[in-house]
């Protein structure tokens, strides 16, 4: 048992009206939020009175419990797993739990964002504390009622019992008596060994709503009197909107207004990336009428910057690798001398293109701006950043801006950036009423915060006994380099040098699921496969030797990873996949990577069907500490694998005169059913380490394992993504 300071502002249970208990925060039916599979008769009755405790928990007089999920839901399933953590410590029966999305409220919650695979990691203690505090106060209320000491009462599954007697009371019955109980200074948290809910597979709390097509997403949001809007941004990076056939557009059927907006704000922060602060907005009655108006636009665009081409980008990467300024580096020993001494030296260069996020739900947002308030509702990974930027744009005090989150049709980093919310606010202000802005796919793919383009050169030297004595990597990207100087194999090689180099572009870029790691893992793990081959060693044994060095005799200053845990996932995947086993016709590739504080190793089994390589099975071993919701966690890793293989294989965004050449799924390829792995099996290392990242770490190793399996299947090494451009399509 751990004791933890509660850190809540002093308050107690507060009685609130029945109407307020259920939220209706953003206009969706809350009662359907109960766990799928729970038939209404199995659930306790709808309460008449609710008692609010600390922003995370409301307890109804019938024993129904509402838990608020503080963070944005982008498909990482925090709307189920975060409340599970509260429910564990509160000790309630999950079937009596209703989950609601919390609004942005920096006074009640912390770290309300979805990014960096950080939701559970950063809120683990806060969520446990919220639940434990609620339980403690209910216990105190019961003890007071029965004239007992708190040590004489226990709670489980929403029922409090006296230790030496027959009396019992439910949370719902005692909640009213908890009004006035002081918030404890400290509470006890459970020993992970005593977890009953955490570690069990709980179904997605919104599963039933999703499979029945209920309106959940930003695109589904509606408000009385709301108009619709679409935008048209310049066709090229380096352009801005100058003028357009405004009167002609405004005269079209169903079109109510059309104008140029400017969402430039003072003191922009990292989430304000926006290549097109000036663009055309059209407001109307229906989406189709707006789409027709977009087609009828005759706009004049002003060139305000360089119109870059893909050729330009390649040249800039060449130049950056030759003489670019180093942003970050690490040097151990002396690589130049070691390479001279080495009996075998190998050097390879890997590259990867710009990529779009392509969330299936295009960017959209609702805004209702009045003279003294702004209300924003929609899909955002960073509601707090949006709130701040809207306040700046409208020159309005922060407390006058509210942001509510809808479920999101994917994030992958795209919705960390807030410009589409600002655009909705600017349009609403101009028309003086509520509006919902929607991007077309072309608007979305053509105005990205893209994954940067990368190129890295790796070099390794082996001595006469095939030991790795020198390793160097130099990686450049537009705009930032992909290298993590202190990650593996830092600490495992006597002579080591890593350099991260940046260069300029006016293409807007940003975080894309597992930023930099998605590329670096693939390049490094494909390179190490080739080095192991040159050394005549099994690729897993070769890596394990390096981890032994990092554990027993680490080189240089502290490195970023825990070598034991890294080696642990390789050993686990080796065992589960029966790595040594010879399977005729099956070609295997392995890779492992550390990012977001978690470790994942993957083995890909590839077969040739009709002369084409097909991914038959992927084996994954992951160490992300305590796994809150195992089956959902497997889903995350499986998705990461598909994402990693799919993008390495098929996806790229190229530019001509500043304009993206792929604007929809007819030219931008995403992995499809027939190309997906037939099976993906996931194993977790069991330990009691507090949870670390899960949404991203499954992705990075996949492209490396893919490249290595492709080599064994086809005899050809792949250095340039997308691999399909020089290889028949998998599947």
């Amino acid at each position: 048992m751990t004791q933890i300071k509660t850190q809540f502002n002093r308050r107690s249970f507060i009685k609130i009206s029945a109407a307020a208990g259920g939220g209706m925060l953003i206009g969706f039916n809350w009662l359907a939020g109960c766990a799928p599979g729970t038939k209404p008769e199995e659930m306790v009755a709808v309460p008449n009175e609710w008692f609010d405790i600390n922003g995370y928990i409301k307890i109804g007089d019938t024993g129904m419990v509402t838990l608020y999920s503080p963070n944005p839901e982008i498909g990482q399933n925090v709307m189920t797993s975060m409340p599970m953590i509260v429910a564990e410590e509160l000790d309630v029966d999950w079937k009596n739990v209703v989950v609601e999305q919390a609004p942005l409220n920096t006074g009640l919650y912390q770290n309300q964002f979805a990014g960096g695979s950080l939701s559970i990691r950063l809120s683990w203690n806060a969520l446990r504390m919220a639940g434990a505090t609620g339980k403690r106060m209910l216990l105190e209320a019961a003890a007071k009622e029965w004239n007992l000491k708190i040590s004489d009462v226990t709670a489980s599954q929403g029922v409090i019992k006296e230790t030496n007697g027959e009396r019992s009371v439910t949370y719902g019955e005692i909640a009213g008596k908890a009004v006035g109980i002081e918030v404890p200074e400290e509470v006890d948290l459970k020993d992970p060994k005593d977890f009953k809910l955490i570690g069990t597979s709980v179904k997605n709390v919104e599963g039933k709503k999703i499979v029945t097509g209920k309106p959940l997403f930003g695109i589904d949001y509606q408000r009385e009197g709301m108009q619709l809007a679409m935008i048209q941004h310049p066709p090229s990076f380096g352009m801005k909107a100058k003028s357009f056939n405004q009167e002609e557009i405004k005269s079209m059927a169903g079109i109510n207004d059309a104008f140029i907006i400017d969402t430039t704000i003072t003191e922009p922060t990292w989430s304000d990336v926006n290549a097109f602060p000036q663009l055309i907005a059209i407001v109307g009655d229906t989406t189709w009428q707006l789409m027709q108006a977009k087609k009828a636009l005759k706009a004049e665009w002003e060139v305000v910057g360089e119109l870059e081409n893909s050729d330009t980008h390649q040249k800039r990467l060449d130049k950056a690798l030759a003489d670019g300024s180093v942003e970050e580096s690490r040097t151990d020993g002396d690589v130049n001398t070691a390479f001279k001494k080495a009996t075998k030296v190998i050097e390879r260069t890997y590259s990867s293109p710009f990529m779009a996020h392509n969330t299936m739900e295009p960017m959209n947002f609702f805004a209702n701006v009045t003279a003294d308030s702004a209300e924003l509702v929609g899909p955002t990974q960073t509601p707090e950043a949006l709130e701040g930027s809207v306040a700046k744009l409208l020159n309005m005090p922060l407390e006058k801006v509210t942001v509510n989150m809808t479920r999101m049709g994917g994030g992958f980093g795209r919705r960390l950036y807030v410009h589409f919310g600002l655009e909705a606010a600017a349009i609403s202000k101009k028309i003086g009423g509520p509006v919902k802005l929607l991007y077309s796919r072309e608007d979305d793919m053509g105005q990205g915060t893209y994954r940067p383009i990368y190129r890295s050169t790796y070099k390794a030297g082996l001595d006469e006994n095939n030991n790795l004595i020198a390793f160097s990597v130099k990686g450049a990207g537009l705009p930032g380099g992909p290298v993590f100087p202190n990650r593996f194999p830092a600490g495992a090689v006597e002579n080591y040098k890593a350099e991260k180099i940046g260069a300029q572009t006016n293409i807007s870029t940003g975080a894309w699921r597992a930023p930099r790691s998605h590329f670096t893992a693939g390049a490094e793990q494909a390179f190490l496969d080739e080095v192991a081959e040159l050394a005549g060693k099994d690729p897993i044994d070769f890596r394990l030797e390096l981890f032994d060095r990092a554990i027993n005799d680490p080189v240089g200053e502290k490195y970023e990873y825990e070598a034991e845990r890294y080696a642990g996932v390789l050993k686990l995947v080796k065992e589960k996949a029966n790595w040594g086993e010879k399977k005729p016709g099956v070609f295997r590739g392995v890779a492992a990577y550390f990012c977001h504080f978690s470790y994942v190793a993957e083995v890909i089994d590839m077969v040739m069907e009709n002369g084409k390589p097909v991914v038959q099975k992927v084996w994954c071993a992951a160490d992300c500490g305590i796994v809150v919701n195992p089956d959902a966690a497997k889903n995350m890793i499986q998705g990461g694998v598909v994402d990693g293989i799919g993008h390495a294989m098929y996806s790229q965004l190229t530019f001509e005169n500043g304009a993206p050449e792929q604007l929809n799924f007819d030219s931008y390829q995403l992995m499809r059913h027939s190309q997906a792995p037939k099976d993906i099996e996931v194993f977790f290392v069991e330990n009691e380490i507090a949870p670390t990242g899960l949404g991203e770490p499954g992705l990075p190793p996949a492209s490396g394992a893919l490249a290595n399996a492709l080599y064994r299947a086809t005899g050809k090494r792949h250095y340039q993504q997308p691999f399909s451009s020089n290889q028949p399509i998998v599947g």
């Binding site: 959940l216 059927a253 929607l438 792995p677 599947g731």
Partner: protein
């Protein structure tokens, strides 16, 4: 503008709309049936999949004028209580991540199972490859279709 008499999920609707309007936007903007999703607008992603007389079609490129005489089914009408075998199987396998593409995936799967009650892997690939899932739930979708085929 023209008047169309529509049969959607067994209910009759009359609407006045430009005949070129895609069925997707009639459903979403005029009839408040929001389960059918917009993904690409060019019939490449499958998020907008509905049934026209039992056949899976992409509603984003199907003008309302061509569906007037047919029976339209959307995700809201796939079953009365959310208990179509596909919906049950989707829940059993906890398929969705973000969930946005899943209505379209389920409509394609339901149409497949209607004609091919015991689909092979390649039947599934053929019927489903027009439906993109950006979260990468393909393995679970395939498992769910097989489970649904036994329900």
């Amino acid at each position: 503008m023209a008047t169309f008499n529509l049969n959607i999920n067994g209910q009759k609707h009359q609407i006045d709309v430009d005949p070129s309007t895609p069925t997707l936007w009639v459903l979403r903007d005029h009839l408040n049936l929001l389960g059918t999703k917009f993904g690409c607008g060019i019939a490449q992603c499958g998020a907008c999949t509905i049934h026209l007389d039992g056949v899976a079609i992409r509603s984003c490129m199907t003008p309302i004028s061509v569906v007037e005489d047919g029976a339209i089914t959307t995700i809201e009408g796939l079953s009365k209580d959310g208990d179509h075998p596909v919906q049950k199987a989707w829940l059993e396998h906890d398929v969705p991540q973000c969930g946005y593409c899943q209505a379209g995936q389920m409509m394609s799967a339901a149409a497949l199972l209607k004609n091919t009650p015991n689909p092979s892997d390649s039947d599934i690939d053929d019927a489903m490859s027009g439906n993109i899932c950006r979260c990468g739930t393909y393995v679970r979708i395939k498992q769910a279709i097989k489970t649904a085929s036994k329900l």
